[in-house]
């Protein structure tokens, strides 16, 4: 097992893409453990890693987001958020957080969110007199809401792997999403007061009404998805295609979409989703090899030899996931650790939906933590600020997310509020 981790770390450090590092280290481990003849199975595992109906939601939700983005929805969301909170001190920082929350409601991906919103909001915040590194950190950490507020690609994958209800997981993400948004908003106001960020004039009532009207259709998308699923019109997987259809309709109604833009979005989405699906594909090799060698059992036994107290196990599990989250991205972590996670869920006796929410929060927050925090990299690249400076600004913000995580882990009623309320 250690040979796998050494190889994997070595490949990662030398710049081999994560997907290939997983595949090569997994295959090498298969040979090293004397099961080389099973390597003929690996191409089938690669296909199996992609061959799941629900994974179609990845390209489809990405496509819906991309169409909304080229269709001008992103800009409209920002204008709408400005109309609501833009007049407060350091208003643009609150606008950023609120925009992230709304955007999360139509996008399932944190990186899509950071890229789409960052390019508009980081310069606007800088223009309003905020340090660019702070602006970048705020975008990076707010984007964590993308896969927490439904829809969420990470939750879909968790549901696929664990068998937990994806619809329930989606609902369970609402409260932590609100928690993170509120925490960040409080921090942003405090920071604006402390550093004396400037104030921009309030928009007129007419302007605000116009902004609301222009954004409303986009904000209705999550509602349409939820109602459509509940009414039995489509399945959660098909909902992703419906989201695309809806994005096309509002894009053409507003005349922001052209056929060329749609065509480009289709191709761009295929390219981006391939980079995600190739990771699930390669991770499927690793999980196959791990199962053959009974690695999950070994890790679980090692952890249990430390403690058998459920609370301690929960704490250890959180630390374990956060550490993995520092180096790996969410999908790989979920695929690699799911067999272990299932064992621990049974041991702790936590509700499967709450447990899923805790795990997803954990791995998603990891995207904004150093050293490997893809969101920090994106925001730093957009802002032109060095990653180190962005990281320093991100630390208190990540702290807020961890606080929310602790609440979700300790108080079942918080994450389960919406799932039980709507049943």
């Amino acid at each position: 097992m250690s040979s796998f981790f050494l190889l994997f770390a070595g490949f990662l450090a030398t710049g081999v893409p994560i997907a290939l590092a997983l595949g090569i280290a997994g295959t090498a481990y298969l040979y090293l453990s004397g099961n080389g003849m099973m390597a003929l199975m690996l191409p089938q595992r690669m296909i199996a890693g992609v061959d799941q109906f629900v994974l179609l939601t990845i390209p489809l939700f990405l496509l819906a987001g991309a169409l909304m983005n080229v269709g001008g929805v992103t800009t409209r969301i920002v204008t709408f958020a400005r109309a609501m909170v833009g007049h407060r001190r350091g208003g643009m920082s609150s606008v950023s957080i609120l925009s992230s929350g709304f955007f999360a409601g139509i996008s399932g991906s944190a990186t899509a969110e950071a890229s789409a919103l960052g390019s508009i909001l980081i310069p606007s915040m800088a223009k309003q007199g905020m340090p660019p590194a702070y602006a970048a950190a705020l975008i990076a950490v707010s984007s964590v809401m993308g896969p927490i507020i439904p829809p969420s690609i990470t939750m879909i994958i968790y549901g696929v792997l664990s068998g937990a209800s994806i619809g329930q997981l989606f609902l369970a993400g609402i409260m932590p999403g609100i928690g993170i948004a509120s925490g960040l908003l409080i921090y942003a106001s405090w920071r604006a007061k402390r550093d004396g960020f400037p104030v921009t004039p309030r928009m007129t009532g007419r302007e605000r009404l116009a902004a609301t009207r222009r954004t409303l259709p986009a904000l209705l998308l999550p509602l349409i998805i939820l109602v459509g699923i509940k009414a039995g019109i489509f399945t959660p997987t098909e909902a992703a295609a419906v989201a695309v259809g809806y994005a096309l309709i509002i894009g053409f109604v507003y005349r922001d979409l052209t056929l060329t833009r749609v065509w480009d979005a289709l191709i761009a989405t295929a390219l981006v989703s391939t980079s995600i699906l190739f990771i699930t594909s390669m991770a499927s090799i690793v999980s196959f090899v791990f199962t053959l060698e009974q690695v999950p059992q070994l890790i679980a036994d090692a952890m249990l030899s430390l403690t058998e107290n459920p609370w301690m196990i929960l704490l250890l599990l959180n630390i374990f996931l956060l550490v993995l989250g520092m180096f790996l991205e969410p999908i790989s972590i979920l695929i690699l650790t799911m067999p272990i996670l299932m064992k621990f869920q049974a041991l702790i006796g936590m509700d499967p939906v709450q447990f899923g929410t805790v795990v997803v929060l954990n791995v998603v927050i990891g995207m904004a933590t150093p050293p490997v925090g893809i969101l920090l990299f994106i925001a730093s690249a957009i802002s032109g600020e060095p990653v180190g400076k962005v990281i320093r600004e991100a630390i208190p913000l990540v702290g807020i997310c961890l606080l929310v995580l602790a609440v979700i882990a300790l108080v079942p009623q918080v994450s389960l509020f919406f799932p039980s309320f709507l049943n």
């Binding site: 710049g15 191409p43 690609i153 098909e238 391939t274 999908i331």
Partner: protein, 193 residues
């Protein structure tokens, strides 16, 4: 790569056009089939029994087919921890060294994929059989091999892209000792969750 009108350049342009077009068409088909399925079931009370399976196969082909292109566009997430410490020349060298295990792995898997796929000639693609039976009264009988072979095609193309990227960056990074054209921003903006 200087001559943009030579046969190689034209071939590359044609290849990129083809892969992009196939990817776009595949995405479009997936959306159309899934929406049609919802329509058929909810409005017409029937069902397209092949819809789910066909969408999965489209996704498989699409994923593997565009791997190479996605790699060259810098969509693959990589950490670049050691490379960021090196000058362009050494960085190229490291990339060349790491290309060895990558290409060996891809080549091996492409070969095994072919071997594995060739064992299932008798297994047909049910979705296409359903469609064909509905159209002509007879099953199509197309082998599942045509789905499984996507791994071989995709990984082989990816290996070619890895090698081509090395060749293309050789002049800039090694001869001129300049930064590679793909900036870190491009490398990290790849989409993950």
């Amino acid at each position: 790569m200087q001559d943009r009108t030579g046969p190689l350049a034209r071939f590359v342009t044609g290849y990129v056009w083809l892969v992009r077009t196939l990817a776009g068409v595949s995405m479009l088909l997936i959306v159309a089939i899934m929406l049609a399925q919802v329509f058929w079931r909810y409005i017409l009370g029937g069902s397209l029994i092949w819809a789910e399976e066909l969408c999965r196969y489209l996704l498989i082909w699409q994923t593997f087919l565009v791997l190479g292109l996605a790699f060259s566009k810098g969509e693959f997430v990589a950490l670049e921890f050691v490379p960021s410490l090196l000058n362009p020349r050494l960085r190229w060298l490291l990339k060349a060294v790491m290309a060895v295990p990558i290409v060996v792995f891809l080549g091996l898997m492409a070969w095994y994929g072919w071997d594995f796929a060739s064992r299932f000639d008798r297994q047909t693609i049910p979705a296409l059989d359903f469609i064909w039976t509905a159209l002509s009264g007879e099953a199509l009988g197309l082998s599942i091999r045509w789905v499984y072979v996507s791994v071989t095609v995709g990984l082989a193309l990816l290996a070619l892209h890895v090698l081509a990227d090395l060749a293309v960056s050789f002049r800039r990074q090694v001869v001129d000792n300049l930064e590679d054209t793909a900036s870190d921003a491009d490398r990290t903006s790849a989409g993950t969750t």
